[in-house]
């Protein structure tokens, strides 16, 4: 019911957004073009980003005085670089946006990068996590995460566990998956341990039983997994449980998408004890996170759970607001990027900053274990790697 009302409301807001803005002469109206996947199988991810971004605006609507920031939201329908590129181009030439933002899928980000460069528009990436993406344009600033950033700490943690001697890796067969596989393998093998085998599975795989049966045959101490999240993670967890891998002594470790918060209730007890390395957990203990969660549930209902996607949208808007505030009305593309390069904040995920050299995010990475708390299943943090940079840039 609430969603239907939000549909009607959303439409009304969208129509209102088309009307010319009437403002006082002194107040500036900034525009942010937010591109995310809002329809199709990955619609839940886009919804998280949009909600995160809107929540930041709602919580900080008075921070910029009379100046306003308008979000123009566009749907790139999923991994469709040509669509994303055209939308970005239209946002620039038709809507004259001051910032481009959003983007879930790396290919879409790569396709938009030349537009940002050509139009000199800052491009704030709120998810797409392949390491090299920030190099595609000097106007890109990434507030989300990189694959290597959260994979290496996990590999390091795993290599220190005496009961994890051998690992089998399973990743989705696309650039982020391969990056994760490489980062994990490098970190884990570097500590003198062995990866017994690796398998790459189709990006949309309805059933993991055949792949996990192979894992079971190989009897590793742990299975490392990287998946794009969503229904994939639940399907993996079901196969993990129904093949009895846990009972067979195969521990499950992986990236945070594997135990992503909005799918945890669907996974049930199968997820208990799974260890992941990631940058955001709803169980993160801080005031910023508590305030964020409270505002989130007030805005979107008690049943709605924010994920790292929402944090990307939230912090992305924070960075944009930060740049606008710092420049005091003298906004240009270069100046905005320059301001964001030195931006830092206390995010719901913990302290974050932008690395001035790479324009990529620097943040804490937490090793977490799924536990049953009074709020249901949660990723409980038990070890912290402080101020981790993207290891991909060190090369």
């Amino acid at each position: 019911m609430t969603s239907f009302r939000s549909l009607v409301l959303g439409t009304a807001v969208a129509i209102a957004a088309l009307l010319p803005m009437a403002g006082t002469a002194a107040a500036k109206a900034y525009k942010v073009g937010l591109i995310a996947s809002l329809s199709g199988p990955t619609a839940s991810l886009g919804q998280q980003i949009e909600r995160g971004a809107r929540l930041y605006q709602q919580m900080h609507k008075n921070d910029l005085g009379d100046d306003t920031v308008e979000l123009i939201v566009r749907d790139d329908t999923g991994p469709a670089p040509d669509v994303a590129k055209r939308l970005a181009q239209e946002l620039v030439v038709r809507d004259h946006v001051d910032f481009l933002a959003g983007i879930i899928f790396t290919p879409n980000a790569n396709a938009i990068a030349p537009i940002a460069t050509q139009a000199k528009v800052p491009f704030v990436i709120m998810n797409a996590a392949a390491s090299a993406t920030t190099k595609a344009s000097p106007y890109i600033v990434r507030v989300s995460q990189t694959i290597g950033q959260f994979t290496q700490p996990l590999a390091q943690w795993a290599s220190q566990q005496p009961d994890i001697r051998t690992v089998y890796t399973l990743v989705s067969d696309y650039a982020p998956g391969l990056e994760a596989e490489e980062a994990f393998t490098t970190g884990f093998k570097g500590a003198g341990k062995s990866v017994v085998s690796s398998v790459r599975v189709p990006v949309q795989s309805p059933d993991f039983v055949p792949f996990l049966q192979k894992v079971k045959d190989a009897k590793p101490d742990a299975l490392y997994v990287f998946l794009p999240g969503g229904t994939q993670s639940t399907a993996l967890m079901k196969a993990y449980q129904s093949l009895g891998l846990k009972e067979a002594g195969v521990r499950l470790i992986g990236s945070g998408e594997v135990t992503v918060e909005d799918e945890l209730p669907n996974m049930g007890d199968a997820a208990l004890g799974v260890v992941t390395g990631f940058h955001y957990s709803t169980a993160h203990d801080s005031k910023a996170n508590a305030d964020f969660l409270k505002a989130w549930q007030a805005a979107y209902g008690a049943d709605s759970v924010p994920t790292f996607m929402a944090i990307g949208g939230y912090d992305g808007m924070a960075a944009i607001h930060g740049a606008i505030a710092a420049l005091k009305g003298k906004l240009t593309g270069e100046a905005a990027v320059e301001a964001m390069r030195h931006w830092s904040a206390e995010s719901p995920r913990g302290p974050i900053a932008i690395d001035p050299d790479t324009r990529d995010i620097v943040q804490n990475i937490y090793i977490r274990r799924v536990e049953k708390t009074d709020g249901g299943l949660r990723n409980v943090e038990f070890e912290t790697f402080k101020a981790v940079k993207d290891p991909g840039k060190a090369k």
């Binding site: 239907f4 199988p41 839940s44 059933d207 049966q213 045959d217």
Partner: protein, 288 residues
């Protein structure tokens, strides 16, 4: 090794049965009424949502939710048939395709508005949530139930179409509609009933199969290709054909992914192309 083979076979069977239960209705309506219903998967998803709502929100037992899914979706199917589909019998197939796609689009948006974009899972009874030992190997009980359900539905359809009066009428109307009408069969009513039956079984399949094909708003779009493959390979209007086709595809898919994971996706299409080139009307199809 034998354990692995048994496991693969078992899960292949479970996957196959879900495909069968959802698709068989599509084959019947396409064969009987020549209606190319690309929104068929949306009816299956609707069944899944009925089971979710019944077991999660209303707290009804799973065994009540399943028949409810069948009845609710069959009724919805009957309404859609009476209101619109009926006017499209004998119409240009492109119009049918266009209409059913339109229906699918609206269903996707409707499901998203009502249930959100995330997947929904029905509450499964405790009796089915454990493991069951067959031949010394442990299998999830729920999937064993899915396999049994597939076989039961095959048998029920066989009895219904082959042994009852209504089945006789359906067969007669399929063979020669004019003749059937001449001897007093009310084909309008019959078509409504058949459409309702086909969509109802799909709804049942959506509910039963939610463990294998998860219920999301885009269900009807994501798995459409699989359902069409089962019907085309099995043969239109047949009850056994889709069963065989689903078995073939389910087992080949799972085994292919186990043996050569990196090239797993090729197997399904290879099998489809081989079968259709050898038998263009499908395994049990009289015509294409």
């Amino acid at each position: 090794m034998i354990t692995a083979a048994l496991t693969i076979l078992f899960h292949g069977l479970a996957f196959a049965m879900v495909l069968y239960i959802v698709s068989v209705g599509l084959g019947i309506t396409m064969g009987l009424m020549n209606f190319a219903n690309l929104a068929h998967g949306a009816f299956a998803a609707a069944g899944g949502y009925v089971v979710v709502v019944a077991t999660r929100s209303l707290g009804l037992p799973f065994w009540v939710a399943l028949p409810a899914a069948f009845v609710v979706v069959a009724l919805a199917g009957a309404v859609v048939e009476r209101l619109v589909v009926r006017t499209l019998y004998g119409a240009d197939e492109l119009r049918q395709v266009l209409f059913s796609i339109a229906l699918l689009f609206m269903a996707i948006a409707g499901f998203t508005a009502a249930f959100g974009p995330l997947q929904q899972q029905p509450e499964i009874p405790a009796a089915l949530s454990g493991q069951i030992a067959l031949g010394g190997v442990e299998f999830p009980s729920y999937r064993a139930f899915v396999i049994a359900a597939g076989v039961v539905i095959l048998a029920a359809l066989w009895l219904l179409i082959g042994r009852t009066r209504i089945g006789m009428r359906i067969r007669a109307a399929v063979d020669n509609r004019n003749m059937a009408e001449a001897i007093g069969v009310d084909t309008r009513m019959l078509f409504t009933l058949t459409f309702a039956l086909g969509t109802g079984i799909a709804g049942l399949g959506g509910g039963i199969g939610a463990d294998v094909l998860s219920i999301t708003p885009t269900y009807g779009q994501e798995y459409l290709v699989l359902f069409l493959i089962v019907v085309a390979v099995g043969g239109l209007g047949s009850i056994f054909g889709p069963f065989l086709a689903a078995l073939c595809i389910g087992v080949v898919d799972v085994a292919g992914k186990y043996l050569i994971p990196e090239f797993g996706a090729f197997f399904i299409y290879g099998v489809v192309i081989a079968i259709l080139l050898a038998k263009p009307a499908g395994l049990f199809g009289v015509r294409s």
